[in-house]
Structures are given as C-alpha cells and as structure tokens.
Symmetry: C2
Subunit: 422 residues, 2 copies
C-alpha cells in the first residue's frame, strides 16, 4: 500500500495501467470527426486538452497551445509551462480541483475512451538523429561484421557515435511499412542485385524529444542538457541488414534505414520519469571534458520486444532488457551533438541506438538475437524467424516500475507489408 | 547579336549579369523594415512578388503564395503554377505586358535595388541529404584516406552514395560560422584531444530543391524525377577533416559537417536551366534497372571557388570546374533516395557532393587541392593555405554560359570566425 495520489478515473489506479496519474503523457489524437489535438492519456481514457483550454482550466501561459496537430507549440513554451500544466492536470484528475470531475457536461466533452480515438505522430520532427550508445550492441555488431577480436571500434569509447537520420519517414505506431527494395550484394556475385530486402530487422530503441531550441554556434553542456529535453518515446529503427551492409561504407546507413522509423504515440515527460533516474554507468576511460556529467542521467526503464509471426494468434516476447545499461547518456548525446556548434530545435528526435543487454535474451535486434540469421528464434507454434517475414508484426513496450504503479510508454507497433513490385 | 528577349530593366541586358530576363530566380528578401517575402532577381534589382500579387498581376493560382518567409508555399503549388508564374514575370519584365513598366508607383513599390535588401534562407528545409556523386572526388578522397590502389570503393559505381545531412544548420550565404570544436585523434597519441578543428575545409557543391512531395512507400523513377525538382542552388558543405577522420566509421560524418552548410540565396529554376541540359556522362557498368535514365540529366554549369585570406584585399580563384562531369545525375540521386520507399518533401535539399574535375586546378576542396594540407595553395600576396584559417572567406560562384547572356547562381559566401572557447 502506497500513499500515492489517485485519480477519480478508476482505470488509472489499478497498478497495471501504463497511464496512472503520475504519468500524464502527451500525444496527438482525433476522434468524433474533430481535428487532431493534444491529449493526455489517463488510465483507459484520453483527455482532450483543447477542450480543457477552451474551458479555461489550463494555465494562461499555455492558452491556444493544444488545438494543433503536433505538440510543438506546447513544447516551445518551455519547462516552467510544462510543469505548471502538469500541476493543473494533476489537480484536475486527482479531484483536488473539482472543475472537471464535478462537471458532467465537460467530462463528456473532454474525456474519450482510448479505444475510440486515433493516435497521430505526436511531434512535427524538424530533425532526427540516431545514436549508437549501447556498448553491448556495438560490440555484437562489430563482432559479426568487422573484427571479432577488436569488435569495438577505437572511437566508440570516446564518442557518443551518432548520425543524421531521415525525419520524413518517422511514423506513428501502427503504421504498416512495405519491405524495402534495394541493392543487395551477395558474396559470390560480382555485382549487386536489386530486389526486396532479405534481412529485414527491427532495432529496439528509445528516443528523446528536444524541448528547447539551441542557437547555431552555442553548444549545450551536459549540465544544461536536461533543460533541453521534453520527454521520451519508444522507437523502432527498422533496418534492412543486407542493404545496409553494402551501402554503409563510407558515409553510413541510408536506404537501409530511411524507409521508415516508428515511434510510440505518447510522449512521457522527463518530469514523470524523474523518480526513475539512476546512477550513470561506469565509463572507462573517463570521457573528454565536454562529456563529463555530474547529474544522474541514466533511467530505469524496462523494455520488451514481442514478435507476432504472420498468421499467428499471439505475439511472443523475444527480448527483455532495460534502458539504464546504456553506456552514453542522453545528456552526453546532446552535448556531443551540439559541441561542434550544431543547433537543435524543438521537436527534434534523438534515438538512443539499439538497446541490448548483456545476455542473449536481452538483445535489441534480430541480427543479434539470431546471430545474423544463423540461429533463428523459435516462436510458440513452431514458426522460426532469422529475420522478419511479410505480415510479421513487431511490438515494443516500455515502463518504469514504481511501488504499486508504473509509468508506461504504451507501445510502438508495426507490421511489414510485402515489397512493392519494382 | 542574338534575338533573345530583353528587359526594360537595363541592368538585366548587359550580358554579364547573373540575372537576365531568362533567369528569374526566386529568393526571400526583406527591405525597408517589411517582413521577408518572395522576390525575383532581375539585373541589379529585386522584384517584390508579394506586391505584384497584391496588385493582381500574378496568376490567380498563386494568390497569397508570396508573402511568407520561405518559398515552400509557392513551390508546393506545383510545376504548372511555376511555369505560369514564369510566363507572367517574363511578360511583365520584358514589357510585353505594360502593367508594371507603365505604372511608376507600382514600379517604385515593387522594385528594390539588390544592394539595399537583405537576403534570407530561401527555403524552409524539412530534410537535407548530401550525395557523393563526383567520381574524381571519391577517387581523390579514397586515395588519401583509404587504399591508393583501390581508391574507389566497390559500391561507388553501383550506388549514388548519399547520407542524411543536418537541416537545422543550413544557412544562407553571408552567415559567418565559428570554427567547430571537436574530437581530434593525432596519430601518435593514445587518446583524442578536444579542441578547435585544425583542418577546416570547404566543399564545392550544388543542391537541388525538391518541388513535390512523394508518399512513403512510393518510389520516384528517374523518368518522374524532373517533376519533383524545383530548382538549384550553390552549396558549401563546410567540413572539419580531422574531426571527420576520427568520427566517420561506421555511421558516417556527423559533427564534422553539422556545424554549418551554406547555400546561395537565389534558387535558379529547372525551367531556366533547361537550355543547358547535356548528355549524361558515360556510366560503366550500366547501372541497375532503377537507375537507368532516358532523359539528358546533366547540366552545363561553370563553377569557381574563390578564397580571400584573412586580411587580404582580394579573393583569389583557387578552383574552376563544371557540374556536367558529375557521374551520378540528380534524377538518379532522387530515384535512389526513394527506391527504399523513403518519402521526400517540398523544400528538401539534395546536395550533389563535392564537384571535382579531372585536373588539379579543378578540385572542389582544399583537401584535394592541397593533398591534405601537404602542398598548400599560394595566394596572391604570398599567403599560403593548407586549410582554412580564422577570418578566411570562401566564395563560390556558378553560371550557365549562353550565347551573349548567362544564367547565374550569384554566389555562396562564408567567413570563418574563431572557435568558441570550450
């Protein structure tokens, strides 16, 4: 029994929901033929902030920030407004303030059952950067594709390696993606062939959403980095391994990644995640000056990947891991991103890189789980998968486990459609 | 003597200007304290399209597309509207239609001397991709950094290699940039140091601006590609060679490029460039099916790079080359970019990659011109440069030489400020 605050929306209090009163993640939803607007998930309901704003129940500083089709306008208002809005929502949904609970007409207008609404991409994303911050993942990949004896490249322990991703093809959970066509170089052929990817994979990642612009030429320090973070999402960095292997030298992955990246629809705020900050992982050698950090920048977030084979009833859990083991923290990623003078903008998405644990059942990609397809995973019912087949669906879930409650991210889900005839 | 049409704006007719009646490039300008809006360069004047639109002199289909701070709204209207607008402007500026020429009050309101206006970034850029399409450049770089005997990587002749760039730091000509700080690994040191770049370079490129959205999962063929191109700009892909060399394996260049990319303020339309289409360069081996092209997709554009050393009076021309020698065409770049299903959007910027010719005086970077700094260029007055020093200014110019006129791109100019104290 804890004394944490509960909501008059009962489904928020069962200890199992991803969306208790302590979470209050933001997203964009539409329902009832109304235009997309900002909502907050609470239990099995979605709260319409445009309606609450209209009713004058949200902070004056946020007036008019909730009726658009992205969170960007709200995010751009800055951290004090995020906090004030969170406090208001907590008061309204706990019943400390009766303005919503005690007004049946307003409740009917502002609360929609989550199963009735359509969720959209929460953020208009001006830039998407993907990092590579799990030491286990980088080691596993290096072992398979480069030198098993020197799996980790020399720069990896110095640089939070990252690269620019493609923002246009970031899609919301539930969006189906076609298997990409591309160039594939088979070992015994002189030239590549052109055709559908044969090694289609997922990558379990998380991403943070930038909450504050930085100026060109003005680096963000690790100490200032948390000021620039609004919240986090689950992220599936779909990857075409065969296309990637042929294309990635010398300028990095391109078509093997740009065909689609899926994120979860609810953005969990850094404020909601605050109780789940943990000590930073040990780093050796000690990072260069601009990467050193004082604050605890790791987060304890349980993660799992489920795979539903085409035609199967149920999805099987094929990986379980935790975000806290990432070698480079988000604060270090942002400090590195901006240390050259590069600016970031409200809504930018920063992917963590594949999150792999130390044991074979905690790897964040099929590449690692199946050793590049050589040791397929067996699913309940007997289906085997080295890589993804058409019709397969991947579901990623994440949550912070509190005492009697959890701060959940919901899920990011995606199904693979056959390749388009080329 | 040619019979080409001339303008009643005399400065457009001297055969030397970049901006004759045949050009009509679009940009964003502000003057007189008015908000930024769309302008067209004509001789030494800038024509205010928001004023012309207000006066009812532009196509009805383009109504309201010219008073914003980017070209995106106009571009999104599509090719027929671009053509109709060009025809209207040609009629108004040639005097075939007297509505502007014969109206002194309107002329005064709509025409500003170019030297009086401020030019802004012409396009709001949702995505920036940079290719690597000069065979000479790829060979020169491979020779220096990889294997002199096998300078061209095996995938280069098959793939129009490209990577995602950073859109947030694309700036308009004239923007000064700080020398980036970053990680530099010296050969005899065990660990990298952190400090200002010591090998700061430019890259002479051009870029095209995407004129039409494509849908996720819907590749754009080489045949359809020209429909998706609005126009072209000059592009300087500033590069920190020492940072690049340490960071780029395995995910490509990041901080070495993201600190800034400069483009010219005037977007020269594909329609204006039409007379300068040329036969495609020979490609061997014949590209895979999706990269084959029927149309003439090469363009004859003369290019030069000037360097003004810090404190020097004059800039010296250090490179002269031509865009037509690029191995992969823009149509092939776009077909490759989208073949995986990746979508493109109006305003996307697609860089060509460094444009290097076959002779040492036609290379598009100091890296190549000076053999990685080993053979500095000597400038008039005696200054030597292996790489850029603080206060140095780089100017790139481009033009298509017609019979008695030229279609010019103006210039992209940028000066290097000292590194910010880290």
């Amino acid at each position: 029994m804890t004394d944490r605050k509960t909501s008059w929306i009962e489904s928020a209090n069962d200890g199992q929901t991803d969306f208790p009163l302590q979470n209050l993640p933001y997203g964009i939803f539409s329902a009832n033929g109304k235009t997309p607007r900002v909502g907050v998930a609470i239990g099995d309901m979605v709260l319409d902030l445009a309606v609450l704003d209209e009713a004058g129940l949200l902070p004056a500083a946020a007036k008019g920030a909730f009726d658009g089709d992205s969170l960007n306008r709200f995010i751009a208002l800055g951290k004090p407004v995020w906090s004030e809005t969170r406090q208001r929502l907590t008061a309204l949904l706990s019943g400390d303030d009766k303005a919503l609970e005690g007004n049946p007409a307003l409740r009917a207008a502002a609360l929609a059952p989550a199963s009735w609404v359509t969720l959209h991409l929460p953020v208009q994303i001006p830039g998407y950067t993907d990092f590579y911050s799990s030491k286990e993942h980088a080691t596993n990949v290096g072992r398979m594709f480069r030198d098993p004896e020197n799996a980790l490249l020399p720069n990896w322990l110095e640089i939070p390696i990252g690269y620019n991703g493609r923002a246009s093809s970031v899609v919301v959970s539930g969006t189906e993606l076609h298997r990409p066509n591309g160039q594939i170089k088979l070992p015994n052929e002189a030239r590549p062939l052109f055709g559908p990817c044969r090694k289609l994979d997922f990558e379990l990642e998380m991403g943070f959403i930038v909450g504050k612009d930085s100026a060109l030429g003005a680096p963000v320090s690790t100490a200032a980095a948390p000021e620039h973070m609004f919240g986090m999402v689950l992220l599936n960095d779909w990857s075409a391994r065969d296309i990637q292997q042929w294309e990635y030298v010398p300028l990095g992955p391109f078509n093997s990644k740009t065909f689609g990246t899926s994120i979860s629809p609810w953005v969990v705020t850094m404020e909601a995640l605050e109780p789940f900050r943990r000590d930073n992982p040990a780093q050796s050698p000690e990072p260069l000056s601009y990467l050193r950090q004082q604050a605890r920048n790791a987060y304890d977030i349980d993660l799992e990947v489920l795979l539903r084979a085409d035609g199967a009833e149920d999805a099987a859990t094929i990986s379980r891991t935790n975000f806290k083991a990432m070698y480079w923290t988000m604060a270090q990623q942002l400090a590195h991103h901006t240390v050259s003078g590069c600016n970031v903008r409200v809504g930018d998405l920063m992917g963590s890189g594949t999150i792999s644990g130390t044991t074979p059942d905690s790897y964040g990609s099929l590449l690692e789980l199946t050793r590049n397809g050589a040791e397929p995973v067996t699913l309940p019912g007997g289906a085997k998968r080295g890589f993804l087949e058409d019709g397969d669906e991947v579901v990623m879930r994440g949550w912070c486990q509190g005492d009697g409650y959890r701060i959940g991210f919901g899920e990011v889900r995606g199904r693979i459609l056959p390749a388009i005839a080329a």
